[in-house]
Subunit: 96 residues, 2 copies
Amino acid sequence: MSVLSGKWKFHILGTLIEGDKLGFMDLMREIEGIGTKMLSKELQDLEMNQLITRTVMNTKPVTVQYAITKHGKTLEPIIKELAKWGAAYRDSMTAS
Amino acid sequence: MSVLSGKWKFHILGTLIEGDKLGFMDLMREIEGIGTKMLSKELQDLEMNQLITRTVMNTKPVTVQYAITKHGKTLEPIIKELAKWGAAYRDSMTAS
DNA sequence: CAGAATCCATGCCGATACTG
DNA sequence: CAGTATCGGCATGGATTCTG
């Protein structure tokens, strides 16, 4: 299941699930810490695996929209669980 | 949530959840493909994060038992989901 | 059996600069 | 805006060997 490898895949998918239809810059802003290279690479991976779609708009400064596919949505419960678990995990660590 | 990074963490956790109390060799056999270095390293990671326990037995050739902790069990639903998803994903790819 | 140690290849991932 | 190109560091992870 190396489909979900990479530091950012889950985060990207999560962001895309919440806010449908996001542009490149939107993702950059939401994810915080990722660079253009990583983002575009991860995006390509996800597109290849048909978890997201990439749509180039015919506007002036050129915009692109990324969105979750039906297939990608099947990951929603997992991502939600993962997010919950992550939060709970952090809490339990506050015994520092 | 880089706690779950590394290629094998999920697989190890999954194996440990199904078959409670496994030795080093058991894991090697179950996981197939992993080497002693990776296995012991991942195991240490997981122990540090308190997801598994490591118990050294006082037997002749020395055996060690690894087991899931209560904390680790909270990951069970996620791992199960992930496994299901992985299977479904593979199926959907059989449109090659 | 359990694992640490060593050596080494791959590639992940980051910063910066450049293109359409 | 949305990337690609390039350079390079550092971590990941594999094969093999060695220890208690």
